[in-house]
Symmetry: C2
Subunit: 193 residues, 2 copies
DNA sequence: CGGGCCTTTGACTGGTTTCAACTTCTGTGG
DNA sequence: CCACAGAAGTTGAAACCAGTCAAAGGCCCG
């Protein structure tokens, strides 16, 4: 329990055993069954979730009630509606488990206390967000500059695990295209090879 | 000089006069004329740039040698190729001045020293990146879920200054559509009103 | 074994790109 | 100060690509 999280932390910012225990005292475990929700649009996001095991997705819903997947989070990744978490506004995203999952929650209270009491935690958070920012920028760059075919190939190369564990229509949603189009893209790639 | 930057810093994380002076000793001013480059693809990004005055853009170039604008930075905003800055890899973005501009540079060396010596700097950086991350996430969500018309309206409402200071074809590039399409979108909006 | 969801495939439609021409605006040099 | 070249923006027509709607086949789960 907490192993994956604490190791990820330790890897970025080395921890003594005492610090490890200290951090741990702020954490909360949570299990989610497939299709259960961690967060619904309209709620306030009260915690950052780190995935120890399983897979989640966050998504928003537009005016036509079409879902658009914002992020997938497999083991070792963090997921939340950061805006809602930080401001206390109601969330614009839903977060749902795609598989039975085990999470580590850092509540807002714990987060703020850790920030105040433990510089290493702030460093860890800074590094996490920086990494997330860079990844997001890459994704955006790809979204506006590469064709669907190439985008899919790049995605498949970068995240083979997601491809295997997530249904196709969700990949399509993540890419911002329809399931039908993704199906045709895949056919074209297979034949073209 | 440095006023805008130091005030932005102070606003997020209050500083004493001594701290203000301390931070300042790590900064470097830089002026750029319109159309001059801060960074070219292939260089390594050696500094984060904070815009005191003026306007810059960052963009990447795809296989068809089409430009795609990643970011605009007006006064008070930060711009860089963060990935290149942090890893030392060659940059994938170009950064160009759209107007005569005055920048504050934080070199990699200064950045690391400040991170080590001044917890408030780390906090400031964390807050900056968090804000940038949330903004980027909003943009991505908009890009995959909203029609061009609505996107343009939202952009115009959110960033009226950019609209007035940046040529239309760059807005189009930022939105990921052709200048012709943007022109038609605008016409439709004006008539439709 | 049956039902429902997912994926694939086809035909049609609509919006975007592309290419080209024309106008407007701007900055520069004569 | 005017003339002109180049860039920026607008408009039109044709081609193309993705979306939509509909239907059929496959697969998993109950």
């Amino acid at each position: 329990m907490y192993e994956v999280f604490l190791n990820a932390f330790h890897e970025k910012v080395p921890l003594t055993d005492a610090e490890r225990a200290f951090v741990q005292s702020f954490l909360m475990p949570k299990k989610l069954r497939r299709k259960q929700y961690l967060l619904q649009e309209g709620d306030v996001c009260k915690a950052i979730a780190f995935v120890e095991k399983g897979a989640l997705r966050s998504y928003c819903v537009d005016d036509n009630s079409t879902e658009h997947i914002v992020q997938f989070a497999l083991e070792g990744r963090t997921i939340s509606d950061l805006y809602s978490f930080l401001t206390g506004e109601t969330a614009t995203y839903h977060i749902e488990a795609l598989e039975d999952s085990e999470l580590v929650l850092i509540t807002k209270q714990a987060h703020e206390e850790l920030l105040g009491k433990m510089p290493k935690y702030e460093t860890f958070i800074r590094l996490q967000i920086t990494g997330a920012y860079i990844a997001l920028q890459k994704r955006l760059t790809a979204a506006i500059s590469i064709s669907n075919d190439e985008r899919y190939k790049a995605f498949a190369a970068a995240y083979p695990e997601i491809l295997q564990r997530v249904p196709q229509h969700m990949i399509a949603s993540y890419m911002g295209i329809t399931p039908e189009t993704l199906s045709r893209v895949r056919r074209k790639i297979v034949r073209g090879k």
